[in-house]
Each structure stands twice: as C-alpha cells, then as structure tokens.
C-alpha cells in the first residue's frame, strides 16, 4: 500500500463529498414539520426597551409564535454563561453582567436579539418580524474603547462602573519601573490592533428538535465544539440534562474561533422546538453574521521597551485596553490576558515584563477569540516594537532580533510571564526564512522597483505562539471554569476496519485525513479502512472541540493513548492464540509476532478473535477491541517561526502589492505536509487581510458601518500573493507525536511582517508606525506628506 502514515501528503478523504455537493452543513438539514425562526434585532446601539408590541406579527400569515426576552425569562431560561473568570489587580473577580438570550429591558449593541418570530417559512417569519413595534428610548452609546473609558461615559451595564470588566495585570511593576529608570534607552510605541469580523463563509445556523415521545432534544449547529455547547446550554441556559440533549455539529464551513461560543440562536431554536413540539430552524443572513458573530482583536495599547546601550532588551512595559463588546462572550475574558500577555516574551529573552489590561464594555458586538486569539495581538505589538527599537537605536532589524533571541540550547525556557517553552530554534527559522526570501538580495530589488516608480519594502517578523490548549490544572488556576483535555474512542471492528471517535471537530482542518493517518502509522491499517467520526455528542464520549490548534497535540495524543491500549490488549489476545508469553509478543505493521519465531497473527485475526472467538481467554480478558483514552496535556505547545513580507507601494495611488511572502514555521512534527501548507497559507491570508484590508468600523453613535461584504473588505484572490511555506522542525517534548500545531501561525506571524515592510518602504518619509489596516488612502496620505506622517516618537 502507498505510504499513508505520518509525513505523507495524503489527499483528503473528505474532499470527494465536498467536491460533489454532498457536504452536510447545518443549513442543508431539514427536519419533518420544520418551522423557521427569524430574529428581530436591535438597530440601536444602546437603548431602553419601553415596550414591544408583537400583536400584528403574531397575526401575520404563517406565523406560529412570537417570543421576546420576557417569554424566555418567564420560562426560567438562564443567561448565556461565560467560561472564564479573570480577577482584578486587587484580587476581586471581574464584573460579569447578565447576558440574556433575548434582550430584556435594554439593548446593548446593534444586532442584539429583541424578539423571534417562528413561522411556516423563513420568508413569512421575516415579513412578520417587520411588524413588531418596538418603542425604544435611545441612550448615549459607548462606541469605542476610548469613549467607554472617558469620564462620564455612558454605562453599557448600569451596574458596571466605568465600563471596566476587569483591570488585570501580570508582572512586578515596581521592578520594571526601576529597570526603566536605569535604562540607557526607552523605545515607546502607541498602537491599536484593528477590530475584525471573522466571516467564515458558512453563516451560522441552528436547527432545534424535540422528540415528544422520549422527551429528547437535538440541536444541529454550526459549532467547533458540540460537547461544550451541550454542557453550557444544557446546564446553564435551558436546564436540560445531558442525557436528554444531543448536539450535532455536522460539516461546518469554517470557524476561525467564531463558532466556538454558545450563541443565543442555539438556545432560541432548541427552546422554541420544545415549546412548539416542532423542529425550528434558523440560518443567519450575512448581515446578521456581521452583527452577531463574535468579533476579534480590538486593542488599544502603549508599549515600551527598555534597552541597554548595546541594544539588549531589559524590560517591557505594556498597557492595553481590550474591547469586550456589549456582553461577555464564552471565552472573551481570557483572550487579552492569558492568551495575550503571557505571549509577550515572544522569542526574546527579555528578563522583565509587565502588562496591565483593562477589559472594557462597549456598545458593540461581543469580542472573543478570532484566529490566533490574543497571540496575534501580542505578536503585532512586540514585532512592531522591536522594529521601532531598531529604528530608534539605528540597529539592524535582523541583528537586534538575533541578539535578543532565546538561544537554541536554552530550552526548556522559563519566560517571565508564566509560560515555559519546551522547545524551539528561532535562529533556524529566521535563517531559513532569510534565505528563502533572498533577504540579502533585497536592496537590488528595492532599487529596481524605485526605477519603476514603486516604493519597495521588506519586513521581518519572528514570533511564538502557545497552543495545544490546554493543560487543565494550569488553565484552572488561571480562571478557566473547565479543564481542556481531550478524548478519543477507537474501535477496531471484527474484520479489522477502524472507526475513530474524536472530541475534536473539523471545520476545514482535514481531520478525517490527518487523524486517519495516525491510525495508519500506529496500527498499520490502510487509510480507506479508517473512518473518523466527530461532531456528535450521541456518538462521542466527550470532547472540548477544536480551537487553539489543539486537535492533534491534544486529541491526537488521546488517540495514540487509545491505540496503545488496543495494542496492549491485542498482545494479550495474540499471546493466547499463539500460546506464547505476552512479553514475547511484538506488534508492527498491522501484525502481532512472537519474538524469535515465525508465528504471526494480523490485527484482523486478533480483532475477529476479540469479537467472535472460538478460542478466547474469556475468564481473564473482556472481549472486544474498543478503547477510550483521555489526555490532558502537560504544557502548551509553542510553535514559532519567521515570516518575511515584501511589498511594493504605488506612489500615485497608495495601492500595495504584496510581491512576496515567505513563512518558515516550526510547527513540530508534520503529519500531512500538504495540509500544513494549506493551513499556513490560509492563516497568512487572514493576516494580510488584517494588515491591509479588514476593519470593523463603528461610528461614534455605535452604528456598525462595515456591516456587509460591500463595506468590509474580505481578501480576494487578486489581493493576495502566492505564499511560500516551509517548516523547520523541533519536536514538542511533552506529547508522544512531537506535534505543536499549525492552525494559527499564519495569522499570528504575518500582520507585523506586512506593516514592517510598509514602514520600510516608506522610511524615506520619516514613518515609524502605520496602523492596520494600511489602506491605500493612509499610505497615499503619507506619501503626499499628509496627516498620519509621524507616529508619536
């Protein structure tokens, strides 16, 4: 058989169905007797609801029911819970205001659900929703971070003073202040991290169903983690015990974090299905995605680096405002703290780091993890600051990085911000990337571009990230309300084919292939005989889903452990059948052999004997070859690497062309190089989108201006370059596969590479920093000597 194990670019098993229109996405699911929900959303950023008159809507053709927040409250429906609790500097817990499924009393952002109409058809529901009369009393809005923290700002939640969710910090401020006082040089940079809208191509959707005979509920939903939804919605919102609630996340068309969270619509359709005894379906229109999917990023920071006279980093001091939006989304509080501040050491041996973060409520859509989640924010800040250090000290950008790198022999390396890196080699990824990007030859290309009237620049970013989420005890001590281990159940069937039940979820990552490759590798079963099942709480023991590049490092390791158990049991059965001692049985390439003899039994011989035996040690051993393993990682994994971008700016228009992009990443052992390359390319595309095109913009009243794909610039094929991807591997030391994760590196490393390249291209104009997205207008203004010429020095 062709080699299909670890390291092979096996073509994907899932592609045949996706390429033939046989995917099964949530909106493709239609249940008998199904009704359709349409949600009337707030068009006000901030308002008191004086009254809601649903009379006309309820009488409209085809309408079965109209519900408001009051109906849900009367039914004892709980609020949407938050999964992470952060503590303030003084040790008190964060402010955690209620998040009703449907707004009660007040709306807090454009898009906040106010009522739901349920009707025979979607069109009937939508038509009727127009007939709901809502009497609002508009309130002043806190539309941006700066507005929300200004004195006298409107309060998003009446009982949260100053709109501060928490005021958190990490590090020893006094020590750091002292280091700054004694430093030869201090480099300061103010910067924002632009707010993004994830825009997975599949809009969110949910179908709720209630079985009147059994009393069982089923929810089909566009989720990255169906078990988490079952846990949160069952326990906190609808009070349905887990034995009565099945959550299915079928094929899901991209997530990028936005489909992790438990959303209102999931609870609405499930609850309404129970009340009406009929299935209820809801599918977002894209405009609803813009105003109800959790947004990403949105930081406002001041960063300072203290250096000695030789350019060594002495201390880093950061102050960040992080936008939470109108309510706390499921994981929101941990993103700008434990997934952000703990990454601020980056790839550098900076000995002292202090970071304070104020999380702020605003009258905007909730903000939560989006591809990279906290780590892109940390990386952008750090890699821009390092370039500013080079700029201000006159040092070379590559040299200052190299000089401050954590040495390749310094692992395990304890950072000053809690994390301990297990492995890495930042020199190797930097060298590999400089070479692949022909960094040495750049000045020639710059001159050639200048001759064509173009401004050419090159930018380097060297980054680290933490993924493989997460060591449960560690995250528990940091405020996570659940552990984050993973589960695998592996069944070897009587005739030797294998089904893997994994608690991770694939929404583009290709798990049906890569996880099957692990089985090929370890059990020697051909890939066409391996099926990977995910996304159904009725089939899979448990699982925390897929985000934070955890599926292979955590879920894959659970599989390895389950297969270890299968081999151990298989050896006992083989020993019995071949009348040998267990200790003499070896397993390799699908075969059990007795050491030093030619006795052999295939895995199929053993699986058949395990299920339908004539001759089996039934007194000593349970029949069957079906094992489950749980795995709790010992540490995060730490992919890292170097991205280099080369850009050309048109002098007359400010239009940027990314002429070359090279990513050399260390993602640990690579299971499927083709898939890794695709993951990195996709991540880089989103990073380039953030750097050049994408921006969720609210006006000062809190209206979302970039509320459609006509207003929010999604990267298109002709906006992007070819993306060269290579890997330089150091193995993760604490999981048996040595894997680290590749889902987010592209989006983490790339934005600063692009902005560093633009600043380089414009260095003749005295530019030190450019905020994202670097639109043609911004660049054109700089070239014209216009407004954003010099950032604060």
């Amino acid at each position: 058989m062709p080699f299909e194990g670890i390291g092979a670019s096996v073509r994907r098993k899932e592609d045949a169905r996706f390429l033939s229109g046989r995917g099964n996405y949530t909106d493709d699911i239609n249940r008998p007797g199904q009704l359709h929900a349409f949600i009337r959303r707030s068009d006000r950023p901030h308002a008191r609801i004086n009254s809601i008159d649903t009379t006309a809507a309820a009488k409209a053709p085809g309408v079965v029911a109209v519900y408001t927040g009051a109906d849900m409250a009367a039914d004892n429906v709980g609020g949407l819970p938050c999964g992470w609790q952060i503590h303030n500097k003084d040790g008190s817990p964060m402010a955690e205001p209620p998040h009703p499924v449907i707004a009660v009393g007040k709306v807090r952002h454009v898009g906040d659900p106010v009522a739901v109409v349920i009707a025979d058809t979607k069109q009937a529901a939508k038509d009727a929703a127009e007939l709901i009369v809502i009497d609002y009393q508009d309130l002043p809005a806190a539309a941006s971070l700066r507005d929300a923290v200004a004195s006298g700002a409107a309060l998003v939640h009446d009982d949260v003073p100053g709109n501060i969710c928490y005021d958190w910090h990490i590090g020893d401020k006094a020590m750091i202040d002292a280091a700054f006082a004694g430093a030869a040089k201090v480099v300061k940079l103010d910067l924002t991290n632009n707010r993004l809208i994830p825009n997975a191509m599949e809009p969110r959707a949910a179908v709720g169903e209630f079985d009147g005979h059994s009393g069982d509920y089923t929810l089909y939903t566009t989720s990255q983690n169906p078990h988490v939804i079952r846990l949160l919605m069952g326990a906190f919102v609808l009070h349905i015990p887990e034995n009565k609630l099945r959550v299915v996340a079928p094929d899901v068309g991209g997530g990028f974090g936005s489909k992790i969270y438990h959303y209102a619509e999931e609870a609405i359709v499930t609850w309404a299905a129970g009340k009406l005894r009929r299935p209820v379906k809801w599918t977002a229109e894209r405009n609803e995605s813009f105003m109800s999917d959790a947004h990403g990023r949105d930081h406002d920071s001041t960063a300072e680096m203290a250096l000695d006279a030789n350019g060594n980093f002495l201390a880093l001091r950061i102050s960040t405002l992080a936008n939470m939006g109108g309510y706390l989304s499921t994981f929101a509080p941990c993103i700008p703290t434990y997934l952000y501040a703990t990454l601020l050491a980056g790839v550098y041996k900076t000995p002292l780091i202090y970071c304070e973060v104020k999380a702020v409520f605003t009258n905007t859509v909730p903000v939560d993890a989006y591809r990279g989640a906290g780590r892109p924010e940390a990386t952008f800040l750090l890699e821009r600051l390092v370039d500013a250090c080079a700029h201000d000290t006159g040092m070379d950008r590559v040299a200052i990085r190299r000089q401050n790198f954590i040495a390749a022999d310094a692992f395990p390396y304890q950072t000053p911000v809690a994390l301990q890196y297990d492995s890495g080699n930042y020199q190797a990824t930097l060298d590999g990337c400089l070479k692949a990007a022909d960094y040495a030859g750049f000045e020639g290309r710059r001159a050639a571009a200048a001759a064509r009237g173009k401004l050419r620049g090159i930018g380097v970013s060297t980054y680290i990230e933490a993924c493989g989420i997460a060591p449960s005890a560690v995250v528990g001590s940091l405020g996570a309300r659940a552990g984050l281990y993973e589960v695998a159940n592996i069944k070897v069937h009587p005739t030797g084919s294998v089904t893997v039940y994994t608690g991770t979820h694939s929404h583009g990552q290709g798990h049906e292939t890569t996880l099957a490759q692990l089985v090929c590798e370890q059990l020697g079963v051909p890939i066409e005989q391996v099926d990977v099942v995910h996304g159904d709480t009725a089939k899979i023991p448990f699982g925390m889903g897929t985000y934070g590049s955890r599926s292979l490092a955590v879920g894959g390791t659970a599989m390895v452990k389950a297969m270890d158990k299968i081999i151990a049991k298989g050896k006992k059965i083989a020993a019995h059948l071949m009348e040998a001692s267990v200790d003499d049985i070896e397993f390799k390439d699908n075969k059990f052999t007795v050491a030093g003899t030619d006795k052999v039994k295939s895995l199929t011989d053993i699986s058949l004997a395990a299920y339908v035996p004539h001759n089996y040690p039934i007194d000593e051993l349970e029949p069957g070859l079906d094992e489950t393993a749980f795995y709790d990682p010992k540490n995060f994994t730490f992919p890292g690497g170097c991205h280099i971008a080369e850009v050309e700016i048109d002098r007359d228009t400010g239009i940027v062309e990314v002429v070359n992009f090279v990513a050399v990443d260390d993602v640990g052992r690579v299971i499927n190089p083709m898939i890794v390359e695709g993951q990195v390319q996709g991540g880089v595309a989103q990073g380039i989108g953030q750097a050049l095109l994408e921006h969720a913009v609210y006006d000062s009243s809190g209206q979302l201006l970039s509320g459609s794909m006509m207003d929010y610039t999604m990267p298109r094929a002709d906006d992007l370059p070819n993306i060269t991807v290579a890997t330089e591997t150091t193995l993760c030391t604490h999981n048996p596969l040595g894997v680290k994760g590749c889902g987010e590196v592209g989006a983490i490393g790339s934005p600063p590479a692009i902005i560093n390249a633009l600043v380089d291209a414009l260095k003749a104009y005295g530019v030190r920093h450019i905020e994202m997205p670097a639109t043609p207008q911004k660049l054109w203004s700089i070239i014209q000597g216009g407004a954003p010429r010099m950032a604060a020095e």
């Binding site: 045949a16 033939s20 229109g21 996405y25 909106d27 809009p203 583009g508 794909m709 094929a717």
Partner: protein, 163 residues
C-alpha cells in the same frame, strides 16, 4: 403561484415559486440540491454560483422566474454518469484547493467557466482576477489558483499555453 419549468442537471422540473423566490432557493429548498450554498446577501461571495445555459451565474442574484426555460448545471451534476469527477473537481482535490468546502461548489463552477472562456490560455493573473466574484476564507486562494491552472490543459486537451 407562478410556475417555472427548467432543466437542472439534465432533468426537467416544473416548480411553483413566489415572485420573489431566488434561483438558489428553488435549487436548495424545492429541489433539495443543497450543494449550492448561500454565503452572503449582497452578491459578493460566489458560494451560490451555478451554470445557467452554460455560463456561470450567481443563483442568489437571479429570480427563479428568470430561470424559466433555462438549463441549469449545479455541482451535483458535474461528475460523469459513472461517478468520474470532472477534471476541475479532480484538480481541486489533487492541489488541496479546499478546506471547509463551503466556497467550493461555487468556486468550482466559476473556475470551469473561467477555463472554458479562455481557450487561448490562462495566466495566474487572469485566474486571480477571474476569481474576483468568489470568496474563500480558508485557503488563501494559493491552491485554488494552482488547481485551476492544472485543470486548464486537462479541460482543453492540450498542454498549458505559455504565459
């Protein structure tokens, strides 16, 4: 309610629709052909692209009534009767041009029209510009561009013309 008669993937259907029913709604909801997707509401994403009388069209931007008397090809009708994939489908798989698969049906249908309409050859730039109407959030397009370039010689039965 008005009726439309149209051929979809070689099979004739007569369907009752509202005046406002979109072609994509007819395909997905009336005919159960859920391979054609809806990714936006502003005609931006191309997840809904099908062929109408041999030319790619955004089925979210066409009324079902406008499709009366036409022949529509969707992703479900692309493979040969024996199940053999169309060369574009093959090349998408070979070059890993899909991840979540949601944009894929529209992307493949657009790509086929793009190749068909460029018998003289297709440069990378032309491919990238030709995909203006199709969004993919997963792949970064790199592999989609490669797949289309690789499908061109297969579909035109000759080696790719030099750029």
């Amino acid at each position: 309610m008005p009726q439309v008669t149209l051929t979809v993937n070689g099979k004739q259907h007569t369907v009752e629709v509202e005046n406002r029913t979109l072609l994509v709604e007819l395909l997905r909801e009336k005919l159960g052909l859920t391979g054609t997707h809806v990714g936006c509401d502003t005609s931006q994403c191309g997840a809904c692209v099908v062929h109408v009388d041999g030319v790619s069209a955004k089925s979210c931007t066409m009324l079902a009534l406008q499709a009366d008397g036409t022949s529509v090809l969707t992703i479900e009708g692309l493979a040969a009767a024996d199940g053999a994939l169309h060369p574009m489908q093959e090349m998408f798989r070979e070059h890993h041009a899909l991840q979540c698969g949601f944009c894929t049906p529209g992307m493949v249908m657009s790509a086929i029209d793009l190749v068909n309409s460029h018998p003289q050859g297709l440069t990378e730039k032309q491919i990238r510009e030709g995909l203006e109407g199709n969004l993919c959030r997963c792949t970064g397009y790199h592999n989609i561009v490669k797949a289309i370039a690789a499908a061109w010689p297969l579909m035109h039965g000759r080696a790719a013309a030099a750029e």
